[in-house]
Assembly symmetry: C2
């Protein structure tokens, strides 16, 4: 991955590295009930963009100046994917969104049953925290840095973070009337895990506190832009490229950015957030900011 | 807590310390949706023996030789109670045991709904890992020790630990025919979190690897003894003292130790496990092993 490749190719390479690492992430020597292991692996290997792991790798590289440190960054990249995966399994449950399919495959509880899906989610969430200490062993980051990453993840994925966003989304269904309520949901449900990814990468690369704060700003902005872009694509995207039906938000009466502020203003907002994200990265004076800048643009230009 | 008090009083004091600490364990300045915070606190404050936190405190004290280190041990004691609490909330869900009451109070999902109960469990589980780094800040244990505690908790509460035991229990319902299957369930579903409690306490107290291994043996044995004693009390206990109906295992056709090996042999097994636990503690040559020895006896002699 040293030669200069286009951003799409770069993200594909990050995804491949992540997937190879995910395959080895639950020790084979552990005495885990077969069915539980299957349920965990089923959702871990169900695909997706692996965007969050790519952000861990890219941020580490941006701060450190070259694509080293991968032995430290990959366990953390896997950890965030474990968290993301558990959150999708629990979101899909009958008591929550009650979805039968995700990315064209039956959801976890449709295959393994509801009880197993709850437990597989719990096990994935717990295992994320087993992966982070390995960054010390494999990659030589300090125990202090790894512990800060543990603390960040527990906050950003927990009650004041992703879970809080999920709760606000659930409680607010239908009843949201203001942009600030919608923003709270997206900042926590989506941005917080992206903020974790870039700041954890930053910690691995040896970022200063100032740089970490600017990386967090970058994460908050691209997370929000990503979410608004999702809303826009649901309205005007190409079903073939998206791999799912459009207009589902309208049909479900979901309150979205385009619903609240209109399509054109939503597009303008995505543009503003992307610029703000890039400004934060530039202000951080990182040794190799290019990939983070390219990812910000890529997320807006994507059509799926 | 320096003066010598009886074990029951000592455990009550540990529980009070834990409860005071639990009350402060979710930062008030965090922007958490009110209803989520209520759901988390509802189950955290629903009582229980607080046995696992007491084991963290006792093991730290046993290794260190005196009841210092409490500023380091209390965040970890709370962490294990957060894990225990989340596991009860998820166990009680309709898709799992479908229980309406626990300790005489309506279960979490009966009060807050199923979706919120799932999310409150997720948030409690995640927050456990936010508490452990505080042992470094508040109590001066090393980042290396805290990170080892994180790694232990993620293993012992995760797929090869408590969740694995829960899955085995669920899959094995009705179909268990051997002691070894039943032992697998209890060792993971019950003992693993007790093993975590005593070894985490040991790490805080500065235990050697040999001492940690012996503390783990102690934990495995008292965990199993505790579980068999539960089965025995369900058969021959006093409903008033237990605060619940006896013979529920028989009515639910649950496979228990008395069912498999008979009541007398179960009692003998509890005695053997207790002795083995005490032998391990004595072999560890701890500076103040008394409380751990007393707890092992207390758990067998209890009538509720």
């Amino acid at each position: 991955m040293n030669e200069r490749v286009a951003i799409k190719e770069y993200l594909t390479q990050c995804a491949e590295l992540t997937e190879a690492s995910l395959k080895k992430s639950i020790p084979t020597e552990w005495d885990v009930p077969d069915r539980l292991r299957e349920a965990m692996v089923y959702s871990l290997e169900a695909g997706g963009k692996r965007l969050r792991p790519a952000l861990v790798l890219s941020a580490a590289e941006a701060v450190f100046g070259k694509p080293a440190l991968r032995e430290a960054a990959l366990p953390v990249a896997c950890a965030v994917e474990f968290i993301h995966t558990y959150s999708l399994i629990h979101d899909d449950l009958p008591a929550m969104d009650n979805d039968d399919f995700r990315r064209g495959k039956p959801t976890n509880h449709k295959v393994f049953g509801e009880a197993m899906a709850i437990l597989a989610g719990d096990a994935l969430l717990t295992h994320a925290f087993h992966l982070i200490p390995q960054a010390v062993r494999k990659g030589g980051i300090s125990a202090d840095a790894a512990l800060a990453i543990v603390e960040d993840l527990a906050k950003l994925a927990g009650a004041p973070g992703m879970v809080g966003g999920q709760v606000a989304d659930m409680l607010g269904e239908q009843g949201i009337t203001s942009i600030s309520e919608l923003e709270y949901i997206h900042l926590h449900k989506t941005s917080d895990l992206i903020v974790f990814s870039v700041t954890a990468g930053g910690r691995i690369g040896g970022a200063t506190n100032k740089q970490l704060e600017l990386l967090a700003q970058y994460g908050r902005n691209i997370g929000l832009a990503f979410q608004i872009q999702d809303d826009i694509l649901d309205l005007i995207g190409d079903e073939k490229k998206l791999g799912k039906k459009t207009n589902s938000d309208v049909q479900q009466n979901k309150v979205t950015y385009p619903f609240l502020i209109g399509l054109e203003e939503s597009k303008a907002q995505v543009e503003r957030l992307t610029q703000a994200a890039k400004s934060a990265v530039l202000e951080a004076e990182l040794l190799a900011p290019e990939r983070l800048l390219e990812i910000a643009d890529y997320l807006v230009q994507r059509d799926h």
